[in-house]
């Protein structure tokens, strides 16, 4: 194909068109809207596949496509363009986004069937796809920022989709705000790029890292990390992800598991050249990754809400990716690989959770599940495959990608390497523990079903085909993707021209690491089985240890935010309102009042008696004469 690059815009345009049509179209599209949305997502996927085929047909170092649409903001030296760049990294993301996105569109057709605002839901989903594709296709940081905020908006709209629930509205607002803090980092980073390089297009910026000081690059790296933390729910900006589970489950699967939250990994990988030249920034990245992977895992262990448990898991898995991305060229490819496999199995897990909720009258508390494997066989099998993939069961996707990351972490070398590797191993054990817990509480054990608000016991049933087909497809991905990618290091070679790659030199052999990984995984599973498989699960959560209680509350991070930021902010604004009213306005009004008082006094001189006025006039004349005489005398 000669002019493949002209297709790139179509990738973004199709879902954008869908969003516009669905949101502006009004009620007359209520019956067909969801199919329009799904079809346009599928169009995007088909175009992506065509472009992928085209890309495979060209040699490795000539696979990047550029498309310049038009000049966006030309002001002096500031030249922002609407232009796309499609290389192997973008291609990977495009396939993941459109592929998983299309599947989840399909799933939503069933899941949202009874929602009267389904058309709007699909409009938002299409909007999300368009923004996410813009994010990964942009050829400069400013356009990336547009997509970056665009997915934030879509996320806001979708988390708050059930706006009548105050919790959903609050969660949506929180997600947007926390993301905005991260966005601040990205926008300052773009400004810094502009003042440093005079541009913010990927090519010139990343090509010129050698010519600028390390201090600037470290600052850039830290700012980009802040952005990534916001979008990818990394410590310290992770608090929004758990609340974001208020959104409909397909949203959690697509946005808050498979695609949007991984944008931070994309950003860091894309800006690899900056991080490679700024070791301090890299150190910050791996620290954030390691802390988050443990943080998320611990939180995931304590949550009884199935979606929040999975959200903790997402946080933790993205922690792995960030960790890998922070390792530099030895990790970028594995970060992306884990990102893709995670996209499959975590989306599958969320869809499975959605299917369970669908059958259980939207109950989310796992303590009120139990024994569902007989009632929902397809869900059980697909969820189970996803489960095996995430805990790193040998041979499944997660095993290949996670193992490589742990290996790379050890390869970082020195004390850091040992600490990071240890953290990653520990994380793997906890992952196995909490995922086994989810699995056991949901599908095994006795029934602990509770009547819902209307007093009806749930009647679990398998979900309709539009929901099960995506789950099956994703389960295939969860099982085979990892193996396929690791076959002759095909994935690494595919990405190498973009991210560069070098083999890490681990102090431990690959076999040792693999053995250790499997061992801790088995340990985690066993511990979980002892606690939740052998003993009955109480319906009301036990008090638990201090750590459990803290983990249930997101390790008190939210409480900290509440006390310091929310309360502090409230006090600040309240006192500022007071200051504005009393001080700023008070000074002015006080001046006015004192003039008023003065004139009130002076008014008394105007007593209305003509003779008093006459005295004044007479005195005035006398003064005038005196002045005249004085002037003449002088």
């Amino acid at each position: 194909m000669d002019n493949a690059e002209n297709l790139i815009a179509l990738l973004v345009a199709a879902p954008l068109l869908g969003a516009a049509v669905l949101l502006v179209g009004g009620r007359r599209l209520d019956r067909t809207g969801h199919w329009i949305g799904t079809a346009l997502a599928a169009v995007s996927f088909v175009v992506a596949v065509v472009l992928f085929a085209d890309m495979l047909g060209r040699p490795g170092d000539d696979r990047t496509l550029y498309q310049h649409l038009f000049s966006w903001i030309p002001v002096g030296g500031f030249q922002a363009d609407i232009a796309f760049q499609l290389d192997q990294l973008s291609m990977t993301f495009v396939l993941l986004i459109t592929g998983v996105g299309s599947l989840i569109h399909l799933y939503s057709v069933g899941y949202m069937e009874h929602d009267e605002r389904r058309r709007r839901f699909f409009g938002y989903l299409n909007l999300f796809l368009a923004a996410m594709l813009l994010l990964v296709l942009a050829d400069n940081y400013l356009l990336l920022y547009v997509g970056w905020e665009g997915v934030g908006l879509a996320s806001y709209l979708l988390i708050g989709f059930w706006q009548h629930k105050p919790s959903a509205a609050t969660a949506a607002k929180k997600a947007f705000l926390v993301n905005r803090v991260g966005d601040m980092g990205l926008s300052i980073a773009i400004m810094l790029m502009f003042t440093t390089f005079g541009t913010f297009a990927f090519g010139p910026v990343l090509g010129a890292t050698g010519e600028t000081s390390e201090g600037t690059l470290t600052a850039l790296g830290l700012l980009l990390l802040l952005a990534a933390c916001g979008k990818s729910a990394q410590v310290p900006l992770q608090s929004w992800l758990g609340d974001a589970m208020e959104g409909p489950t397909p949203v959690s699967a697509l946005i808050h598991a498979a695609t949007m939250v991984t944008a931070g990994v994309y950003l860091i990988t894309r800006s690899g050249a900056i991080f490679n030249a700024a070791p301090d920034a890299q150190l910050a990245v791996v620290t954030v990754g390691a802390v988050t992977l443990l943080f998320g895992a611990i939180v995931g262990c304590a949550k009884d809400d199935i979606k929040k448990a999975l959200a903790g898991s997402t946080m933790s898995q993205i922690g792995y990716m960030i960790l890998a991305a922070g390792l530099g060229p030895i990790g970028y490819a594995f970060a992306i690989m884990h990102l893709v496999t995670h996209g499959f199995f975590k989306a599958g897990l969320f869809l499975g959770a959605g299917s369970v909720m669908h059958g259980m009258n939207d109950e989310v508390d796992m303590r009120k599940y139990g024994g569902l494997r007989k009632y929902m066989p397809i869900t059980f099998v697909t969820f189970g495959l996803g489960y095996l993939a995430i805990i790193g069961f040998p041979g499944l996707s997660g095993f290949f990608s996670k193992d490589k990351i742990i290996e790379a972490a050890f390869a970082k070398g020195g004390t850091e390497g040992w600490i990071l590797g240890g953290a990653a191993l520990l994380g793997a054990a906890i992952t196995a523990f909490y995922m086994t817990r989810v699995m056991l509480m949901t599908f095994f054990g006795e029934k602990r079903w509770q009547p819902d608000d209307k007093g009806e016991l749930p009647h679990p049933h398998e979900s309709p085909r539009t929901m099960t087909i995506p789950m099956i497809v994703l389960a295939f991905g969860s099982v085979f993707a990892g193996g396929l990618f690791s076959w002759h290091e095909s994935f690494v070679k595919w990405l190498e021209p973009v991210t560069s790659f070098e083999h890490g030199h681990s102090p431990l052999s690959a076999a040792t690491v693999t053995t250790a990984t499997v061992a801790v995984m088995v340990l985690g599973v066993a511990l979980a089985y002892l606690q939740y498989g052998r003993r009955p699960v109480p319906v009301t959560p036990p008090r638990g240890s201090l750590l459990t209680r803290a983990a249930r509350r997101d390790l008190l991070q939210d409480d900290f935010n509440h006390v310091v930021l929310v309360r502090g902010g409230e006090h600040l604004t309240r006192s500022l309102v007071y200051v504005d009213h009393s001080l700023v306005d008070g000074v002015v009004n006080g001046t006015a009042a004192s003039f008023g008082g003065l004139s009130g006094r002076l008014r008394k001189l105007q007593n209305g008696y003509a003779r008093t006025y006459a005295v004044t006039m007479f005195g005035g004349t006398a003064v005038l004469i005196a002045a005249t005489l004085l002037m003449r005398a002088v």
């Binding site: 003779r611 008093t612 007479f618 005195g619 006398a622 004469i625 005196a626 005489l629 003449r632 005398a633």
Partner: protein, 282 residues
């Protein structure tokens, strides 16, 4: 006369000091007399003296005009108004505005001092007086006329307009417009008959040996005053004197005095008389 020059004669000096003193006294009396009539008379005296000074200064025409217009016309106008407003009304000289008198005194003295200082400062020695000898050569009236009808003709015409305006203004101010047609005698009589309230003429006010006044109501046979007998205006102003009780009391007092003199039935009368006396005192 045409010799009137810079230097002043001794006669003029004597005249100045004598008449000047009188003028100042007259002016002071004008502002200090309680009654407006006295003030007006004092002012008239001052003005006549000023007329003399005008003559002395060679302003013969003005001197005459001063007497004719000011003392003749304007002061008479004042007297007329004083008469209209009430001759007897004497002002209280007590000051009601706080601090007014002090301020007035301060301003007055200060002003006077300043004026005097100003004149003194202007260094007008006797030699600086040119005198009117030349200007009055053709006669004072001729000189004035020549100026008025040449240089000041325009201003002169305007003063004519001013006077006319003043006359019209005075008429407008004092004239009271009827808002409706005046009712004729006949109409009034017919109305009275129609209403049937009080057909005969109203009774006269009380007429006594000691009083013959419109402000005293006539007494009805039972000794109470009759409202009908006094003028409506006086009634509205509350200026009616009620003498009904007064006459009885006077009579009682007279009786008692005659009893005392005659010394009759002291005890019995003591009681009555004391009681009556108390009533009378009340």
């Amino acid at each position: 006369m045409s010799a009137l020059a810079a230097a002043t004669s001794t006669g003029e000096a004597v005249q100045f000091w004598v008449l000047g003193t009188v003028a100042v006294v007259g002016a002071l009396c004008t502002i200090l007399m309680k009654k407006a009539v006295h003030s007006a008379l004092c002012l008239a005296a001052t003005m006549i003296i000023l007329a003399v000074f005008y003559l002395a200064n060679g302003a013969y025409f003005l001197g005459v005009v001063q007497i004719v217009v000011y003392t003749g016309a304007i002061m008479m106008l004042f007297l007329f108004v004083v008469m209209l407003v009430g001759v007897t009304a004497a002002d209280s000289l007590k000051e009601t505005l706080k601090g007014q008198r002090w301020l007035a005194a301060l301003c007055g003295i200060g002003f006077g001092v300043l004026l005097v200082a100003g004149i003194g400062h202007a260094s007008l020695g006797p030699g600086s007086f040119i005198g009117l000898g030349e200007a009055n050569a053709a006669g004072n009236v001729d000189g004035l006329a020549a100026l008025i009808f040449t240089k000041y003709v325009f201003a002169f015409e305007i003063t004519g307009a001013l006077l006319i305006t003043a006359v019209v203004g005075a008429m407008v101010l004092t004239h009271r417009e009827r808002t409706e047609r005046a009712r004729t005698q006949r109409e009034l009589a017919e109305q009275r008959v129609r209403e049937g309230k009080h057909l005969p003429p109203l009774p006269a006010p009380g007429v006594y040996a000691r009083h013959n006044a419109v402000d005293i109501a006539g007494l009805l046979p039972d000794g109470t005053p009759s409202e009908l007998t006094v003028n409506k205006t006086l009634r509205a102003r509350g200026q009616i004197r009620d003498v009904s009780r007064e006459a009885l009391n006077d009579l009682k007092a007279l009786e008692r005095r005659s009893e005392e003199r005659l010394g009759r039935d002291r005890d019995a009368l003591d009681r009555d008389g004391r009681r009556d006396g108390q009533e009378a005192q009340r």
